[in-house]
């Protein structure tokens, strides 16, 4: 264990907090170089934990961090650093920060940046670069990092001089957090970071040209509220922007006051309590039947902070085909990108929901027949669909282990504020379907990019951002876990209290499911009977390993694994024939979700 790297808030025992006197002195040390200025800019943020991997071109920055009170967590791979920072950003709401060296270090970040970009997660990446005098010569460990990362960042910077590099880092941080959050990157040539300067970075501000809207046009709000008030079958579609925009309280208040059913997208899971009677839960390809029925049959949709991804909409021709769509978003480019918005409202989610809420009150006064009781019939219809299409699974005691049962049992054994992170695949879908999420920022997953291997590094990042008494569990698949399992070494070194449940079906199960459904069962390259003994592997890393096979041992193993104060891995041998349903086939109609393979 390396001393001084453990943030005090993770609650692990016997870790020395940074000595206050020393820390203060460090932050008051004079800026002497570009790298010192970078470190100072990072210290100016509220973020105390950085994730990264050391290397040649980034070495001056690390040297400056040696004297800094910031906690640096060395990851096993830069992709792990990016995912950890990304999850840190999701859980804390503040941009996570990751560092990598030039060339391979920077390119290894790319998957994490693309992931953050697709999900609008706040993230700042700092990459080393060869000296600017050598840029363009194909020098050792040189890549055109700004070029490579252009399509997957909100904005990126090539630091031009030592005097302004700290300001650039501050701006990158501010920009990652502002408006529609997203990843930013600063490429730091070595001669800039070693270059001398005494320039103290200013407090980070966004550039003048960046001006996200705050309040929606009030006339448009009134029109939209009128549409909602006069609707018979309204639905609120909450997207990830509701959580990113800290609008969950406003959403809950609005939906419950008027009794409007709430459907969420996958990034918005937790925005509205799934145990509420108005909660239709997640819609889309593997969403609940009732959510998909609700969005298919609604006549007005108040969509907030969603980009209408194809995994949500299915084919756009059949998406909410009779609904007038009110689309609130902070990003104008999302309006009518995939689904045409009848009533666009540009602004921050929390503000726009409040605006519509206020305007609805006026509408109701004008038309006493509207809202409240009028939606009752529709709410009952939605609840009928919940009864018609329950999220349930048949299970005999003799059956092979049902993954849904594992998820439900872990949910029961943990508190409501437990953070769930996942890899990507079938396990991810069971984790979202069979866990009851009630709080925002407790669901951490790779949505838009679908990055296998996201689970373990994101659990590490989430652990650093979580409160001491908040549990962090990770559901992963055997194939997904294999992709980034080296980060177990980090979890062990930092003694992080996380529990990984590998829903092991010896396959990349989602691929196998699709091959069975759409490729005549030709399981090309999807079966993984060669995966290691994950419990033994966990022990080899110094973590605790558990095996889980029959239904009768599930509760005990979960209890032991959760009780262990440190990283533990549970290898759960699940029914390899279990598939994920309901399912809306790609490009299909949401209302035509299938409940089993024979309905495809």
């Amino acid at each position: 264990m390396s001393e001084g790297q453990q943030p005090p808030r993770t609650g692990e025992p016997e870790r020395a907090e940074p000595e206050t006197a020393e820390a203060t002195e460090a932050s008051e040390r004079p800026v002497t170089s570009g790298a010192e200025s970078v470190a100072r800019a990072l210290e100016r943020t509220d973020v105390e934990t950085l994730f990264g991997v050391q290397g040649g071109a980034i070495m001056p920055v690390y040297d400056a961090l040696y004297d800094s009170p910031l906690d640096h967590v060395t990851m096993a791979h830069e992709q792990g650093a990016a995912h950890a920072a990304d999850a840190f950003g999701i859980v804390s709401g503040e941009p996570g920060i990751c560092l990598a060296t030039s060339g391979p270090g920077a390119t290894n970040l790319v998957t994490g940046l693309a992931d953050a970009s697709m999900d609008s997660d706040p993230l700042v990446a700092l990459t080393g670069q060869v000296p600017s005098t050598m840029v363009g010569t194909d020098a050792f460990q040189e890549t055109d990092t700004t070029g490579v990362t252009n399509p997957v960042t909100k904005e990126n910077y090539f630091a031009g001089d030592a005097d302004s590099v700290g300001d650039t880092v501050g701006e990158a941080f501010a920009l990652a957090d502002a408006g529609r959050q997203g990843p930013t990157l600063v490429d730091l040539p070595k001669d800039i970071t070693t270059g001398s300067t005494d320039s103290e970075p200013a407090a980070g501000t966004t550039p003048e040209t960046y001006d996200p809207p705050e309040r929606a046009d009030s006339e448009a709000v009134e029109t939209a509220a009128g549409v909602l008030a006069r609707a018979d079958k309204p639905v609120i579609l909450a997207g990830g922007g509701v959580i990113k925009g800290e609008a969950c309280a406003e959403l809950r208040e609005f939906a419950t006051e008027y009794g409007i059913p709430v459907v969420t997208t996958m990034p918005a899971v937790g925005a509205f309590p799934e145990d509420h009677e108005l909660a239709m839960e997640m819609a889309g390809m593997h969403g609940t039947g009732y959510a998909n029925m609700a969005i298919t049959h609604c006549d007005a949709m108040f969509a907030v902070g969603t980009r209408f991804d194809d995994r949500l909409t299915g084919g756009v021709e059949t998406f909410a085909p009779e609904a007038e769509i009110i689309h609130a978003d902070i990003d104008a480019a999302e309006i009518s990108k995939n689904v045409a918005a009848d009533y666009p409202l540009l602004g921050e989610a929390s503000v726009v929901i409040e605006q519509v809420h206020g305007a609805m009150a006026d509408e109701r006064a004008a038309d006493m027949a509207a809202t409240g009781e009028r939606f009752q019939e529709w709410v009952e219809q939605c609840q009928q669909w919940q009864t018609d299409y329950p999220m349930d699974y048949p299970m005999d005691e003799d059956d092979p282990l049902k993954p849904q049962f594992v998820v439900e049992t872990v949910d029961t054994a943990t508190d409501d504020d437990t953070i769930v992170t996942t890899g990507v695949g079938q396990h991810q879908m069971w984790a979202v379907q069979y866990w009851t999420y009630t709080e925002p920022r407790t669901w951490v997953s790779s949505h838009g990019l679908g990055t296998m291997g996201y689970g373990l590094p994101s659990a590490i990042g989430a652990r650093f951002a979580a409160d001491d008494d908040q549990s962090v569990v990770c559901f992963d698949g055997d194939g997904s876990f294999l992709m980034t399992l080296q980060e177990l070494a980090v979890a062990v070194r930092e003694n992080l209290d996380i529990t990984v449940f590998i829903l092991n079906n010896e396959a990349v199960g989602m691929v196998r499911q699709w091959q069975d459904s759409f490729h005549g069962g030709r399981r090309m390259a999807s079966e993984y009977p060669w995966v290691p003994d994950f419990a033994a592997l966990a022990e080899a890393f110094g973590a605790r390993g558990f095996r889980m096979e029959g239904h009768d041992e599930v509760a005990d193993v979960i209890e032991d694994a959760l009780a262990y104060d440190g990283p533990s891995v549970v290898d759960a041998f699940i029914d390899p024939t279990e598939d994920v349903y309901p399912m809306v086939p790609s490009g299909g109609a949401n209302g035509q979700f299938v409940l089993a393979e024979e309905q495809l």
């Binding site: 700004t146 070029g147 252009n150 399509p151 909100k154 904005e155 090539f158 920009l175 550039p207 040209t209 960046y210 039947g289 029925m293 298919t296 049959h297 209408f308 756009v316 021709e317 059949t318 998406f319 085909p321 009779e322 609904a323 007038e324 769509i325 990003d331 104008a332 480019a333 309006i335 009518s336 990108k337 995939n338 689904v339 045409a340 009848d342 018609d388 299409y389 329950p390 999220m391 349930d392 699974y393 048949p394 598939d579 349903y581 309901p582 209302g591 035509q592 979700f593 299938v594 409940l595 089993a596 393979e597 309905q599």
Partner: protein
């Protein structure tokens, strides 16, 4: 059904009768329609910094917009450049290009130019030089200029709107065009109208200072 989830099968469920078109627009059964592509010019005022053009062209290419031409040059303000994009897209696509461009941090202001905007492009073309008199006549007809005339080749330049350039190229074809280079459109709004709002604001500011 013994395995899997319970509930009425897809064909037993109520189906809504409405539909949207491929552009995500709810179809009014009375007048089912899709937007056909149209050709238009967008003018973007951008910060004059390295990499900005790469960001714009990268955005355009990765979103697969159908770009006809893209020109760039500095403005009276050394800190800004003007990018003129000619695109052929259906209405929703045009709005997307506009909004995606606007989203780039280095882009200050974007506007679609009206039909009456002043649009010009330049072509430099090199034809075989066997009939210099005829070449000269065509060049004059299009108000062009001869840049180089030798025994084997004649190089001329023509400026004008897109249609005129197309016509001129057609006219020169009779001599055999060896090579040509054309710039793509650059454009300004006509008359009193400002091409982008940001420029108007800056102009007002600088006028006050003077």
């Amino acid at each position: 059904m013994t395995e899997g989830l319970q509930g009425p099968a897809p064909e037993e469920r109520p189906q809504p009768s409405g539909r949207r078109n491929a552009q995500g627009i709810r179809i009014d059964p009375e007048m089912e329609a899709v937007h056909d592509p149209r050709r238009t010019a967008l003018s973007a005022l951008v910060q004059n910094e390295p990499g900005v053009l790469a960001k714009i062209s990268g955005l355009v290419s990765r979103r697969q917009f159908n770009i006809e031409s893209l020109t760039v040059g500095t403005t009276t303000n050394p800190e800004t450049s003007r990018v003129t994009l000619v695109i052929e897209e259906p209405e929703p696509g045009i709005r997307q290009v506009e909004k995606q461009l606007e989203k780039l941090v280095n882009v200050i202001s974007v506007r679609e130019l009206g039909d009456d905007a002043i649009r010009r492009e330049l072509v430099v073309l090199k034809v075989h030089g066997e009939e210099p008199d005829k070449v000269n006549a065509i060049t004059d007809m299009y108000g062009g200029e001869t840049l180089d005339a030798g025994p084997r080749t004649i190089t001329v330049q023509i400026t004008g709107d897109e249609q005129k350039i197309d016509d001129a190229i057609d006219a020169f074809r009779q001599f055999g065009i060896r090579e040509l280079a054309r710039t793509g459109q650059t454009a300004l709004a006509r008359g009193e109208e400002w091409t982008t709002h940001a420029e108007e604001e800056r102009y007002e500011r600088t006028q006050v200072r003077q």
